[in-house]
Symmetry: C2
Subunit: 388 residues, 2 copies
């Protein structure tokens, strides 16, 4: 186990009807709120009205900025920064999924910064001060509701970049599984893949003596795998949607990675895939993990056999660990397929034409990505080819 | 799953050598510290010198109060409150195990309170303001390093009472597994029982649809059971001691109880046992859990069968769940015995003479304790008898 520091100051408010309390929590931090959201769904299903009613009931003034799309754009975040500066906003309330929250975090970063907010993402500089952010979550997936992370895409350059700072953890996150009832199954599945991905990035580690966090990782993944079919089969099944929603927060709040070296190469490669093709992050991850796993599994057959055993209940063949490892990867592919996710680029009609460009972009800030196995540009090209 | 709120603002600093950084964290909160500790061990093994050196290096002034004993006493806490008021202390640094931290929390409660600090424990009133507390942990057991709880004993009345408030979560907790190398095996075992107990109190619940937290509970318990023999066999085995130490914090930081009704009857009964006989809390719990389980298991055979299966790998006999449940309880007893814990009062020469008094005290603030099965005074007497 490695030395680590861990704290997570995001207050989770979890359960039925909790979105109606948003004003009570917001007023602890701000008086003039930027209400940030995506497109039509929060208005269509009544969430917008509930949030606004709760803000008004608490005498909180607000301005709005909707229009966040999947793979949230730098351009909109910059418009948000202009707005928060002009309107003297002191709190950002993100109502939506990971894209909305990530966009809110970008605005939070830019509000007190004189330069270009993109500097944070490209140069990794630290913010002196950020606007506080609160969340009403509608899509369990990104874990951004209690994470330090934000991922933004710049349409002009085609770059998609992640950034993280502890100051970006939301002050509170309201998680009501009922708010996910209206999600299309495709989005639920993408979320499930993303949640599992956040744990795989931590599970596949070179750090030894990490038994407790191994078990925690397995707990999150198996719970999500077990509940996904139920949630997809019945959109109003509170129990399964609650399990997935809480799992989504724990997968990426830092806990299951404590004391471990993490990887994140697959996320890096997926970011370029979704930057070029504007596909959903989860769908891209369902394509990238099997390919990445096939490229790296020989690096630690024991760990891949453990994954096969603990996640899918496969018996470990000690005289042929490779067999167990490969069966585990096949089971993961099978699970992704069972929830209607693509597992090859060809499943969504992507060919090899942009592989070199994506590999180039994936190594834009560092020649080497990943840590379980360190990958150079040629390795990344080979992994993209395995994903065809 | 029940609606819940969860946050834990304690910063965990985990790993080798971290105690040398205590001054860096302390200075974020205070300039005049009460250094609170137990008896001789922190001086004997050099920890005291390291802590003082780090405080001095950060220009932090301090006064001292040592002498905290197991089952920390109200009298010493009151002396501490007098001292913090007189010396204008603005931060309490607890260096020790759960008793020292609980005593520090009592002092934190009393510092800004005009009345008797015992009011909090007896009447459950809320504090307006408390002194901030920091921790250097030496015994993984109580989980007090990141919990809201404090348990104090009043020698005059023989009452032992717990209290909890979110304001009592320590600001930071330094967890270096190396600091546990000098613990006698008996104390390590007591800690192991305590850690497992904190999870059992949450695992045995009437709340349904709590799959993820079930898995998290099992992760903590199985990790501790798996690592305890290694830690006891080699006091300087960093890996196993690290697993137990991190498990000890997670067992009682609130996470594994999210969305669940919790029980706490066994803790309540044990508190009276250790109040009357001044035995170690962990030893008392190793006696109380098997007795409590034998009294309540029929209330939910499925849950006890799950416990047997997930914790001890026993196959569930679906045509005779009771058999599986009882085997699981027997396995828990076997584990306690294997780490040299008593499992009956008779193992430590306690007879039935004070059973009525203990049952009386256990129902001092409420006629009914527990929630998995609600227990009245006669039930409690019967459980104590099962523990003889």
């Amino acid at each position: 186990m490695l030395n680590f520091e861990y704290d997570n100051k995001t207050k989770i408010i979890f359960g039925k009807g909790t979105e109606n309390e948003v004003g009570n929590y917001t007023k602890l931090y701000g008086k003039k709120v930027l209400l940030h959201y995506g497109r039509n769904s929060i208005k269509k299903y009544g969430l917008y009205d509930k949030v606004v009613a709760s803000l008004k009931a608490n005498n909180i003034d607000y301005v709005e900025l909707g229009g966040v799309q999947a793979n949230p754009r730098l351009k909109l975040a910059k418009a948000g920064i202009e707005l928060t500066k002009k309107e003297n906003v002191d709190f950002i309330l993100a109502v939506g999924g990971g894209s909305v929250i990530d966009s809110a975090k970008a605005i939070a970063l830019g509000h007190y910064y004189d330069g270009d907010v993109w500097d944070f993402y490209l140069k990794g500089i630290r913010p002196e001060k950020v606007l506080p952010v609160g969340v009403v979550l509608t899509i369990p997936a990104a874990g951004s509701e209690s994470s330090t992370a934000t991922v933004i895409s710049d349409e002009e350059t085609g770059l998609k970049r992640g950034y993280g700072d502890v100051s970006l953890r939301p002050k509170f996150a309201i998680l009501n599984p009922e708010l996910t009832y209206t999600l299309p199954n495709y989005q639920t599945s993408c979320g499930v893949v993303d949640i599992i991905g956040h744990v795989i990035e931590r599970y596949m580690t070179n750090t030894t003596d990490v038994e407790l966090t191994d078990r925690l990782c397995e707990s999150v993944i198996t719970t999500v795998i077990n509940n996904a079919p139920k949630a997809l089969n019945d959109n109003t099944d509170y129990a399964s949607r609650a399990e997935i929603m809480w799992a989504g927060a724990l997968a990426h709040n830092g806990l299951v990675g404590t004391g471990r070296e993490e990887d994140w190469a697959s996320h890096g490669m997926e970011h370029q895939l979704s930057a070029v093709y504007d596909i959903a992050h989860g769908a891209g991850l369902a394509i990238m993990y099997p390919a990445w796993m096939k490229f790296v599994y020989k690096h630690d057959l024991n760990r891949f056999a453990l994954f096969a055993n603990k996640i899918f209940g496969l018996e470990i063949n000690n005289s042929n660990l490779e067999e167990t490892a490969l069966k585990g990867i096949a089971k993961l592919e099978e699970f992704y397929k069972s929830i209607d996710m693509p597992i090859r680029m060809s499943d969504i009609n992507i060919t090899d034409e942009n592989i070199n460009i994506m590999a180039e972009k994936a190594t834009h800030t560092s020649d080497i990505i990943g840590s379980f196995v360190k990958l150079n540009k040629q390795d990344i090209i080979n992994i993209y080819k395995l994903a065809l």
